[in-house]
């Protein structure tokens, strides 16, 4: 893949990376025919962001998909910390960078980012990447009952009222109004909390559709990056959501790019606190689970046992990783007909149909083996699918800093 950016596009690209860095620690670079996608997902898999730049965004955009084993161009997973500094200072980029060239050549393990600057200076960065699974989540936003559209500034102003440390907020929508308030885990020290709530009349929005009355709670931190990007480009932001537990999607688009942030929302259980991400590889029935779930499909290109599964679903919660208590009822695998989130992974996406039992058994056994401490009778519910949360983190990383205390 080889692409060339000039002028303002470089700055926009940099801002997109900034926004993605607010979501996750890794950046997936996915060159496709329809454009270059930059994606990130947080470690809890409760937030996913994607910036898709169409070929028109670039001065030049070409894919050389010559590759022996695979079809299609390379998908690279980069460590955010190695890419972000390259685009860190947008004022200096604006001032001195004339052209930016990004290329990935087959057979190499590096992404080459070159900045051609004024005064005859060239900066070349060879950034190592891990060739990895593609990352994608597709959210059928057109099926969402609730839709809001507003200038980025409006949302930015709404969000400004909440302290930077405020992790979660609740967005409520009814036919009469939209409100946003901060959400605090069910602790009893009300005296120590500051509660903020603001309400807006439907007229404030460019587009207002209240299909169902709904209160969704999601994590604000990952959204701020997108709002910042949207504000700098003066783009309106669309919000699509449904009932609590279903993901919420924030998106912006213009002629040459689209950006989406999909966040998991807390499901509507009273005794529930924010919980930790769980990995249950097998049952894709989790994708339509009652509990807050963000279906993110990870398609393994390398061959290993997991290839048996076309995709993997993680059951996630919307918050950032406090210890969980899981009432067993949450693990009931209910398949709801109106599943909104589908896994987008080559062909084998199986949203609600569920996995074939043998595969689910294989996968859960595999993961169970990795986390033998938890071996419990409670592991499986009646359906034969794993019940307990987490355990092994499905990825290449050796350390998962927010592992639940087992």
């Amino acid at each position: 893949m080889n692409c060339v950016l000039e002028g303002n596009s470089i700055k926009a690209f940099g801002k997109a990376i900034h926004a993605l860095s607010r979501v996750g620690d890794e950046l997936w670079l996915d060159p496709m025919v329809k454009g270059l996608a930059l994606r990130s997902v947080n470690s809890a898999h409760s937030a996913y962001a994607c910036f898709l730049f169409s070929p028109l965004f670039f001065q030049q955009y070409s894919l050389d998909s010559v590759r022996e084993q695979d079809s299609g161009p390379i998908k690279c997973k980069l460590v955010m910390k190695s890419v972000l500094p390259l685009f860190r200072c947008s004022t200096s980029i604006e001032r001195s960078v004339k052209q930016c060239q990004i290329s990935v050549s087959t057979g190499s393990d590096r992404v080459i980012v070159q900045f051609f600057c004024r005064h005859g200076i060239t900066k070349t960065y060879n950034v190592r990447f891990l060739e990895s699974e593609a990352l994608q989540a597709v959210f059928a936003s057109h099926l969402c009952p609730n839709v809001l559209k507003a200038p980025a500034r409006l949302l930015g102003n709404m969000v400004k009222h909440f302290h930077a440390s405020q992790e979660e907020v609740t967005l409520s929508m009814s036919a009469l109004r939209v409100s946003l308030r901060n959400y605090n885990e069910g602790r009893n020290d009300h005296m120590k909390m500051m509660h903020t709530e603001m309400s807006l009349h439907p007229d404030e929005f460019d587009y207002f559709q209240a299909g169902v009355d709904s209160d969704i709670t999601f994590c604000l931190k990952e959204l701020r990056g997108l709002l910042c990007f949207a504000e700098s480009h003066c783009l309106p932001v669309s919000v699509h959501f449904g009932t609590p537990g279903k993901p919420v999607c924030f998106s912006v688009e213009d002629m040459v790019l689209e950006a989406t942030v999909v966040l998991a929302t807390l499901a509507d259980f009273e005794s529930r606190g924010p919980s930790q991400p769980t990995e249950t590889p097998a049952p894709t029935t989790h994708s339509c689970a009652d509990a807050a779930a963000l279906p993110v499909g990870m398609h393994e290109t390398q061959s290993n046992n997991l290839q048996v599964l076309p995709d993997v679903t993680e059951l996630v919660e919307s918050s950032q990783g406090s210890p969980i208590t899981y009432p067993p009822v949450l693990m009931q695998l209910q398949c709801q007909g109106d599943n909104l989130a589908e896994l987008c992974v080559p062909a084998e996406a199986c949203a609600c149909a569920g996995m074939t039992p043998p595969s689910s058994m294989i996968c859960s056994l595999l993961f169970k083996a990795l986390s033998s401490e938890l071996g419990d009778d409670d592991d499986y519910d009646d359906g034969g699918a794993p019940r307990l949360p987490v355990l092994a983190y499905f990825s290449d990383e050796e350390d998962y800093p927010r592992s639940p205390s087992l």
Partner: protein, 279 residues
């Protein structure tokens, strides 16, 4: 002014007397080489040279010519002592170093000779402070034997562009590699960090390049930790000359303008980490 009420007789005992109307003309330049506590002061009729060394691989020198001083009297051919540079800087800034226009700290530096402390008379706004700082036996500064006849490659750059490069250097890299060549890439700074490699290339036709004289292709690596302090000198300077000799030793010379527009020099000498010859 209080400092001038010193009786003339006192001066006879000093082997070195140096006065500045603005102590910042000394303190600013000394800050550019303060990466170690101790410095060797060497004074000759030409002026003052302050030397700081690190692990026998790095040497920084600040030159303040006699003309910079309002008064510079030396009674011996060579006066040398070692002193705690941090303490000296603290004393020079004893009045807080505020930059109110028109107000500056005046300095009179006096040294009686071997075994005596360095005496500083500092005055600002009518307030006088006297500081006496103990001196030590001066160590012999390392002679890097860097002479212009052995210089293979030399470039002079405007500091502006190098400042940006140095501020963006990948600090996870243990070395800074400098490639100088009569052909592409001409002048290249490279780092090898955790994330990957980075290269900064300056074309020989760049308008930041004031002089480009490279006779052979040379690539040398220097420990990043040794070169890092040089960024302070770079920040103060307007031009920098980068030279390497046939052994790969690096000489960085910075042209610094002080508050009054006078020119001073700071230079850094660094040993190569390992020699990598590339064609």
């Amino acid at each position: 002014m209080p400092l001038s009420t010193q009786s003339q007789g006192d001066d006879e005992q000093y082997v070195l007397v140096a006065s500045l109307d603005n102590a910042r003309n000394l303190s600013n330049i000394l800050k550019a080489i303060t990466f170690k506590d101790h410095a060797i002061f060497t004074a000759t009729t030409n002026g003052l040279k302050v030397t700081v060394e690190d692990s026998k691989c790095l040497q920084a020198n600040a030159f303040i010519q006699a003309e910079i001083f309002q008064e510079f009297t030396i009674r011996e051919d060579l006066v040398a002592f070692q002193i705690n540079l941090t303490v000296l800087l603290d004393c020079l800034n004893i009045f807080g170093g505020t930059t109110t226009p028109g107000v500056s700290t005046a300095l009179r530096m006096c040294y009686r000779g071997y075994g005596y402390p360095l005496t500083l008379f500092l005055e600002e706004g009518g307030v006088v402070t006297v500081c006496k700082i103990n001196t030590q036996e001066p160590e012999e500064p390392i002679d890097f034997e860097f002479c212009s006849t052995n210089v293979t490659n030399k470039v002079i750059l405007q500091s502006e562009s190098l400042k940006e490069a140095f501020s963006e250097l990948d600090m996870t890299s243990e070395v800074l590699q400098i490639t100088m060549s009569p052909s592409q890439p001409y002048f290249r700074l490279s780092t090898f960090g955790n994330a990957g490699n980075a290269h900064y290339d300056y074309s020989k036709d760049s308008d930041m390049m004031e002089l480009f004289k490279c006779t052979e292709t040379q690539t040398n690596r220097y420990k990043m930790s040794l070169l890092k302090p040089s960024t302070k000198a770079l920040a103060l300077s307007c031009k920098v000359s980068v030279r390497t000799d046939n052994r790969g030793f690096l000489s960085l010379q910075y042209l610094v303008r002080n508050d009054d527009g006078q020119i001073c020099f700071v230079e850094y000498y660094c040993c190569p980490d390992e020699e990598v010859e590339e064609n």
